[in-house]
Symmetry: C2
Subunit: 247 residues, 2 copies
């Protein structure tokens, strides 16, 4: 499994991914799920991937190979919509190559991508690209996408994160969402990759690998656990419950 | 879908269930998923159900019919283990009757139950009964069970609820867990049914139906939303992040 989140704001973009891959519980590995395509001053793109590792790696490799070739690639497309189309085309290319063989072994062609960034002349944009190569774009109403194990970490994002949040708050919120997911699903695991992009910078501000012993992440985990306890203790007493008695 | 939770404590038991049933998004109804079997002074049992409504209703009806018949029933079994076996037998009885016909229509025999209570002479006990009629029992290490849409509401329970929690805290925690689930899954819906059982009382203390306009539930929702915001605002700044820079 995997947990990745991409967040779109007025202020820019935040991306967070875990690094665990697994085939059963006794075969776990660490693979980076965040890929960056950047030409400073012109464009920044970040791709987060979930699904079958052989499929996601093929798509990323194809995107990279095309950078060195003639024809369309991520450095030549004029805008993020065309970039998302290009990523979708690469997904379809891998589907054409692999899907029948996978099907023969009862394996789904499973890939889900978060793709976002900014190209000079446009605002930052964020997409969720599906296995069929089609995609949806985030808007201020729903300014984030999750892929992989999304449910455990969703309530905190819905309570805290908004299109007008700061990059700092978005990154903290993503880390807390990830912490809840790490606690609940063994197939989501440290270390984490975090990327923050401030609007119109046309270069990533931070790209960080956060390890299990990172003092900030440890202090964030501990502080959140304590604050939640305090928040809970301050809630109104159940004695006030005026619901209709049934017995 | 459904969301139900049963919690076992030193201090007793708490049960909470929603009431929404659905077949697609355009066919939703309200059905009680909490059933109570009680002979005050001798035994209290609470059954929460998730799955195919035709299956869960059949099992509950069978349990009730057997109360009026000769032979084993929930009022005659000597302990909660035998009671859980009896519920499992009723599940298997319905399976024998319905599973083949359901299969012919491509429908799974889908039922999941939380069953707990106390019979005089024993401590309170809590079980999770599966569609095969087998079951597991809660222990102080894992003192709760969820059925139905469990993921959204799990992190808050894991952070707050313990075997040594009070009934009051357990009920509040269950309500907050339900609130997060209600926000995230349209197929979980109000009103709620809440039952609190203090150890050795051998009678339920509270059985409440909580409606959408219940002032306590509204105040709990609002207070929790505010407290979470405050807790978040007080977290350490990301500027302290000492993780290794990758670019």
């Amino acid at each position: 499994m995997t947990y990745c989140i991409g967040m779109l704001m007025d202020a820019g973009l935040v991306f967070l991914s875990d690094t665990r891959t697994n085939a059963g519980v006794d075969q776990i590995n660490t693979f980076r799920k965040m890929n960056i395509f950047e030409r400073r001053g012109d464009r920044v793109m970040v791709l987060l991937s979930a699904g079958n590792l052989a499929v996601t790696q093929s798509v990323v490799t194809l995107l990279e190979e095309r950078l060195a070739q003639e024809g369309e690639n991520l450095m030549r497309v004029p805008n993020l919509f065309e970039a998302a189309c290009h990523v979708g085309d690469c997904v379809r290319h891998v589907y054409q190559r692999d899907a029948d063989s996978l099907r023969a072994f009862g394996i789904d062609f499973n890939i889900s991508l978060i793709f976002g960034g900014q190209i000079a002349g446009e605002s930052p944009r964020l997409f969720n690209i599906y296995a069929a190569g089609n995609f949806v774009e985030a808007t201020p109403d729903t300014p984030y996408f999750q892929i992989g194990e999304s449910k455990y970490g969703k309530p905190i994002i819905d309570r805290i994160f908004r299109f007008h949040s700061s990059l700092e708050d978005a990154a903290k919120c993503a880390l807390i969402s990830m912490d809840s997911t790490l606690k609940s699903n063994l197939s989501v695991g440290m270390p984490l990759d975090l990327a923050c992009y401030p609007r119109d910078r046309l270069a990533l501000e931070r790209v960080l690998r956060i390890d299990l012993d990172d003092p900030y992440f440890l202090s964030l985990r501990a502080a959140w656990g304590e604050r939640i306890q305090e928040a809970f203790s301050a809630l109104p007493s159940l004695a006030c419950l005026s619901a209709s008695e049934l017995t």
